[in-house]
């Protein structure tokens, strides 16, 4: 019997699992990656030497902690379905398997937003998050000479990481101005360690002579005989392109425009979600301990709203305490006593995370600037012009848009395009994002090999319901 299933073994999920286990709950922790750690504390894949970093060291500590605990950790398991009564189906190394428990903590973290521009789907153009994956798991840069662009703290981390891995950085193009960063210094002071690292990245980039371009966006990338040519364009504070610009030659572009909470499981389970107009994203509506509107379902970490890696373990522990209490395994007094220091620390950590989220929030001019021919849904090749045409025909909500254009119908199930498509619809009709809606969550959460679903079988093994009427 399992008391609690935790999906996602990043900092939030690991902390939740360890805390719940320490309280005596039988915990299963599932993750699709080969080792626990999540994106921030991703384990080296063993393909190439990876330079040491504080995140990697913490990752080792976390994995050691899991190994020494009673948590049943199942990395390498891709969850493809979660039912209303918390049956969790996954594909593992040994094939299909499932667990069921009265409580479920979703700790699936964030995913990257990329505002579409012509050429963003070319080979060699990757997300900032994908670049960190290459750097952390394999110690390898996306290219020999990489343009790093977008917004938020990942810019510095990726650019410095590329230099450390022996790559060249063609330029760093940041949507924000130095003043935008400076304005957030007081909040960032909550984490002097991270602030110092940020300053270290900047110094390293300057020493290497990397051009740091502020209030600058990638307007277009095209393939050339030898690599990629990016046209950079200055922008105003709202992200609107201004006249002028430069051209940068590179063989890779790492670009990202902030993070979105991963809401696939909470959408699937039809819990209440709220649109955060400041951060510019949707997340499940939660109480302070991570309880969702569905009894027994909790969200911890960035999946419940972007607050950053420092806040994540605190949110994980709070959700574990709430789950233990709701399961009758912890009395209210004990929960409050244990949660109080976590809540204090969370308030501080979340301040830093929210300051970063503010830097990554989409600017209105970015959506406006998407060119008509730019592909928004890369699975189905749906352009902005096609989305606008469907809106003009009367699609006001993203699921109708999906039906009429196939935007979001491909293998990624709208993970990549959903937010942009909704922003375009809302803008077209002058309606709130709430009215433009969210793609309905559907299983499988990731494409599911049909042969693994069926297994090997004979015709007699198929249990048939009664025949349809004549």
């Amino acid at each position: 019997m399992t008391d609690l299933i935790v999906i996602g073994a990043g900092p939030a999920g690991i902390a939740a699992a360890l805390r719940a286990s320490a309280l005596g709950l039988r915990v299963v922790l599932l993750d699709d990656q080969p080792q626990a750690g999540g994106q921030v504390h991703r384990a080296p894949a063993g393909t190439r030497p990876v330079p040491p970093s504080p995140e990697a060291r913490t990752g080792t500590v976390l994995r050691d902690g899991l190994a020494g605990s009673a948590v049943e950790a199942r990395p390498g398991h891709q969850v493809w379905s979660v039912s209303a009564d918390f049956r969790v189906d996954a594909l593992g190394p040994e094939g299909p398997c499932h667990w069921q428990a009265p409580a479920l903590i979703v700790a699936t973290g964030a995913q990257e937003r990329v505002m579409p521009f012509p050429g963003w789907t070319l080979p060699g153009v990757v997300g900032l998050a994908a670049a960190t994956l290459l750097l952390k798991a394999h110690g390898i840069a996306p290219g020999a000479r990489t343009l790093v662009a977008g917004c938020g703290p990942l810019l510095g981390a990726v650019a410095a990481g590329i230099l450390k891995a022996g790559g060249q950085v063609a330029a760093v193009a940041d949507l924000a101005a130095p003043a935008d960063w400076a304005r957030r210094l007081p909040a960032m002071a909550a984490r002097p360690d991270l602030l110092a690292r940020g300053a270290g990245w900047a110094a390293r980039l300057r020493r290497a002579g990397v051009p740091l371009l502020f209030r600058t966006t990638v307007a277009e990338v095209e393939a050339t005989a030898t690599g990629l040519r990016a046209r950079l364009c200055p922008v105003d504070a709202d992200g609107r392109p201004r006249p002028g610009g430069t051209v940068v030659e590179a063989d890779a572009v790492a670009v990202g425009h902030g993070l979105l909470p991963s809401t696939e499981i909470t959408r699937l389970l039809r819990v209440e979600h709220a649109f955060d107009a400041v951060a510019g994203n949707w997340a499940a509506r939660l109480d302070g301990d991570g309880r969702s509107s569905r009894r027994g379902l909790y969200v911890a970490g960035d999946g419940g709203g972007i607050q950053g890696a420092a806040a994540a373990p605190l949110r994980g522990e709070l959700a574990a305490l709430a789950a233990a209490r709701d399961l009758g395994r912890l009395d209210a007094g004990a929960q409050d006593r244990l949660a109080a220091p976590l809540r204090r620390r969370l308030a501080r950590a979340a301040r830093f995370g929210r300051a970063m989220a503010g830097l990554m929030a989409p600017r209105p001019g970015q959506v406006e600037a998407i060119t008509p021919g730019a592909v928004v849904c890369r699975c189905e090749d749906v352009t902005r012009a096609e989305i606008e045409a469907a809106a003009a025909e009367g699609a006001r909500e993203v699921n109708q848009l999906k039906a009429w254009t196939r935007c979001g119908m491909g293998p990624c199930q709208g993970r990549v395009c959903g937010d942009t498509a909704a922003a375009l619809l809302a803008r077209h009709h002058g309606i709130a994002r709430e009215e433009a809606g969210l793609f309905t969550g559907r299983t499988p959460l990731r494409p599911l090999p049909l042969a693994q679903l069926t297994g090997e079988f004979g015709y007699a093994d198929i249990v048939l319901p009664p025949p349809a009427p004549l």
Binding site: H98, A403, P444, L453, G455, A468, P469, L470
Partner: protein, 378 residues
């Protein structure tokens, strides 16, 4: 805000939208009201199977006309909704299924469907992707498939062009009748008045008929659908099994849609909630058994489609007894296939023309009502 119309149609699926379209083309001022967006329920998310092999025998003439209309949509609807003709096969893997296949093919043939029994070898010529283990097959040349998700776009264009007033996202809160007309209270303080009312709410018809004081049980089926990612061509027919528990086709874009009416969890209040794991596996196994090439596919999405059914599993299409000007249309098996035709028949009736084929009198399902129930309607 009060607006007056000649007819108000509640429910913007294929049945309601077709009726509204032909009423407007017949010269009426028409409102079409839906609690959500046009064709976002069964009409937009069904399997898009145009097949006589799975059509109830009594409905075959209607389905044949419906299929023709879908294929002819550019002409009368103004847009290609993705209907394509394809050879239809129904197959049997066991002797019991073979008996069922022969019996059902005969009954449907009698009702007018050009279904013929063919040898397994002939079936494999029609569908090279078919499992060689089949022991019997039936063939129908008049089958096909359609991308149901484009239905709303096609209808919306046509309705707007015909001047139908479309009220989307306007849940009806109640209907008052009297003085030879109806007052339809929709959300947003909109009051629509008309002498004619058409209820076309699919699985919500039981509730809608309740607005008029009528109690007609409508069963809600929760049909599971599965679509794969795009893959190389693995089949070219519309394929089913004698028992009607599989519908299978590959669209032009390479995706394969697996249906067959396996049940999931849901209801009219919550919609389709989730698949039942055993039913999912059973349905997909059946598909893979029929077309072994599907083993290389990946499932992209699973969803559920709500289908309505009356006590005798035949449609309700026609005037409601005892309530002047009120009509109902819905609850047809293969309703998506037949919808463009059935809506036209009801519109003809309302416009005072003789329908080409008989309607399906709802009175047979309605027990005599106490007179009081018709006077005051909540």
């Amino acid at each position: 805000m009060t607006q007056r119309f000649d007819a108000v149609v509640v429910g913007a699926g294929v049945m309601g939208a077709t009726t509204a379209l032909h009423l407007a083309r017949g010269g009426m001022r028409v409102a079409l009201v839906d609690r959500g967006a046009i064709c976002r329920e069964a009409s937009g998310v069904n399997a898009g199977t145009l097949t006589l092999h799975m059509t109830r025998a009594a409905l075959i003439p209607y389905a044949m006309r419906g299929r023709e209309l879908w294929l002819d949509a550019p002409r009368w609807l103004g847009m290609d909704a993705g209907a394509r003709a394809a050879p239809g096969l129904s197959v049997a893997f066991t002797p019991a299924e073979r008996d069922m296949l022969e019996h059902r093919a005969a009954a449907r043939r009698q009702a007018g469907a050009p279904i013929e029994l063919v040898t397994p070898a002939r079936a494999r010529q029609v569908e090279p992707g078919l499992n060689g283990d089949i022991i019997a097959a039936a063939f129908c040349a008049l089958d096909g498939h359609i991308t149901a998700y484009l239905t709303g776009l096609a209808y919306r264009r046509a309705l707007v062009a015909a001047g139908v007033a479309l009220f989307e996202n306007a849940p009806v809160e109640g209907v008052d009748s009297g003085d030879g007309g109806f007052a339809i209270r929709a959300a947003g303080a909109t009051l629509l008045r008309a002498r004619r009312l058409v209820l076309a709410g699919g699985v919500w018809l039981e509730r809608m008929l309740g607005w008029l004081g009528l109690r007609v049980p409508v069963k809600c089926l929760i049909n599971q659908l599965v679509v794969t990612e795009r893959l190389r061509p693995v089949m070219r027919s519309v394929l089913g099994i004698a028992n009607g528990l599989l519908s299978l086709k590959q669209f032009g874009n390479g995706t394969v849609l697996i249906g067959g009416g396996w049940q999931g969890i849901g209801d009219p209040d919550r919609g389709g909630v989730e698949a039942i794991p055993d039913n999912l596996i059973g349905n997909v196994r059946l598909a893979r058994h029929a077309i072994p090439g599907l083993a290389e596919a990946r499932v992209a999405r699973i969803w559920l489609d709500l289908e309505s059914e009356t006590a005798d599993a035949l449609p309700m299409i026609g005037p409601l007894p005892g309530i002047e000007g009120a009509h109902v249309i819905g609850c047809a098996h293969s309703g998506f296939t037949s919808g463009p035709y059935m809506g036209q028949l009801l519109a003809d009736f309302i416009l005072g023309r003789e329908p080409e084929r008989p309607l399906f009198d709802p009175a047979r399902l309605i027990p005599p009502q106490p007179a009081a129930s018709l006077e005051s309607i909540p």
